[in-house]
């Protein structure tokens, strides 16, 4: 009996391949029963997220046999292609523990250090636990890995610093206003960038959104999606006095927001802080608006640079995180390159992808 892991993730496989092996919530119970047969009654946890499908197994069946049985199963399902074989990683023994810790700490995630994976792994584990598909060994593995994953997140800064333009913008807005729940947002230009950034702001508590777009219908659509209100493009200047945050992302070839617009509403706004996020290229907001002391303007260049720095910062934490895993599993820190464990390789390839 040994610990095994078979998986496919975003690192090797494109979404068009991963989605074939993904297991929907509707199918999971049925699939668990089928997998129980494949493993000859072994213990297992199945993790299926948008970025990975992984089987953690404790079984007497060898890894090669197990993989072959799964391939037969997938062939029956009509989803197997011979080229897929190279995309799967196969781990045994301590490699499994190390890999699970990497997954749980976000070291193996597409967005390095992201926290959503913890919930996804916990849900997958508890689901299999409730169905009595896990035994003592897998329970110990997961409990220990949860604890190491938590240790990595608290003792390193793997989840600090923002890595996307949207989250950087939200952090800057929060640095200006503190709580975002009282702030009013105006979106000028209902593109994808605006939508994502507005969603990030709303996930941090912002409630009031006004959308303005040249095509009024698009403005209405986005406003409905965000639970806000739409205004006609000609009316955004009048609304300026009421808002605290502007997200601008139009396709305009010239400046949309100019100093004169701000000047007009300064007194009315009582010189309150105004945060402007300019996501457009070419820029929508004349940089001269920063002459007004209460205006804080951030364009795509600034936000991208910050996001890059955030990524760099998280990547630097990988070494510390790896050391915690090595310490937990009593592995000598310096390994020859050809002796690198599989999870090391996965973490390294993650490093390169970002």
């Amino acid at each position: 009996m040994q610990l095994l892991c078979l998986g496919i993730s975003y690192q090797n496989a494109e979404v068009s391949v991963r989605e074939k092996f993904a297991i929907s919530n509707k199918r999971i119970i049925e699939h668990q029963q089928e997998f129980k047969t494949i493993t000859d009654g072994g213990d297992f946890v199945i993790l299926s997220t948008c970025n990975r499908v992984e089987y953690y197994i404790y079984s007497q069946v060898s890894l090669t046999d197990l993989f072959n049985r799964l391939i037969s199963y997938w062939q029956e399902q009509g989803i197997w292609h011979e080229t897929n074989k190279e995309l799967f990683y196969q781990l045994e023994g301590s490699q499994v523990s190390q890999h699970l810790c990497s997954v749980l700490s976000g070291m193996d995630s597409m967005v390095l250090g992201e926290t959503e994976i913890v919930k996804q792994v916990k849900d997958a584990y508890h689901f299999c636990l409730e169905q009595k598909f896990t035994g003592k060994e897998l329970n110990q593995l997961f409990q220990k890995s949860f604890s190491i994953g938590k240790k990595i997140r608290t003792q390193t800064q793997i989840q600090t610093g923002q890595v996307s333009v949207g989250s950087v913008a939200v952090d800057l807005a929060a640095k200006i206003f503190g709580e975002l729940s009282e702030q009013k947002i105006m979106i000028i230009g209902a593109g994808d960038n605006s939508r994502v950034t507005a969603q990030s702001l709303m996930s941090r508590g912002a409630k009031s959104v006004i959308v303005s777009n040249r095509s009024y219908d698009k403005a209405v659509d986005l406003a409905e999606h965000l639970g806000g209100s739409a205004i006609r493009f000609d009316d955004w200047e009048e609304t300026l006095a009421q808002v605290d945050i502007i997200i601008s992302s139009t396709g305009s070839p010239h400046f949309v927001v100019e100093p004169a617009h701000i000047e007009k509403v300064r007194k009315q706004r009582k010189y309150k802080e105004l945060c402007i996020i300019d996501l457009a290229i070419p820029r929508d907001v004349d940089p001269q608006v920063t002459e007004f002391s209460e205006v804080y303007l951030y364009d795509m260049d600034t936000l991208s640079q910050l996001a890059d720095k955030g990524k760099e910062h998280r990547q630097k934490q990988l070494i510390k995180a790896q050391a915690i895993i090595h310490e937990a599993f009593d592995i000598k820190p310096k390994q020859a390159p050809n002796q690198q464990s599989s999870s090391d390789s996965l973490a390294a390839s993650n490093f390169n992808t970002l």
Binding site: K175, F177, G178, T290
Partner: protein
Amino acid sequence: MVLTFIIILLATIGSVIHWNLATNNKRSLVSLVIVIGVFVLSTYQIYQRGQIAQQCPINTVQELLSFISWAILLFYLVIGRVYRVSFLGLLTLPAVVLFEVLGLLPSLQLAFPSADRAVNPILEWHVFLLLLAYGALGQAALAGVLFLQLHRVLKKSNFSNRLFSQMPPIGRLSEAIKRLLWLGFGLLTIGIILGFKLDYAADSFKFYLACGTWVSYLILIIVDKVRGFPLKLMSIWVLALYILNLILLVSI
């Protein structure tokens, strides 16, 4: 004197610890414990001086400065947690060091001519409230300094600044500055009203100074309330007014 040196030493150590924690993006209760320690020692220092003088210890500029630094610490402990601006400790402890060191200048240790007069509770309350007001307004000035630094970082997008991630948001600093301004102004008002009941008020430069301070802060508050103020301008005014008042107080 020994106690003053201990306060200076502890506040200096606290300043260094605060700075190290802030620049290394860390938090620790140690810094708060040191602020409390300096506050307790300052309280004891004032108590001891009061016992020696058998009245409120407000007979030298040094004593006034000690009182103000004590009040600044008091307001830091009150607002630091309430408005989640505990980062202000980074400036509060150096301010204490500055006030205490300044108080050691020989010329500031000379007793005021009126020091030997009989104990007068109204006078003591009057001065005590004015010094408390100076504490609140001093803390507002420190919050203003912090705002100006944060404002500079945010305007220039200089996010590599080592203190940036630990700094409280502008919204919280703004709230703290305005509340402290109101609090200081309120204390100043009550102190001045009490001052009118005193004989010395009519010919005391310090009293006129307090009245001048009161008028200047009144203007600031009214302008902010009626038409609004860019926070940068407000911070500069709060800081400038405070420095001016301190210089006048020390140079009397």
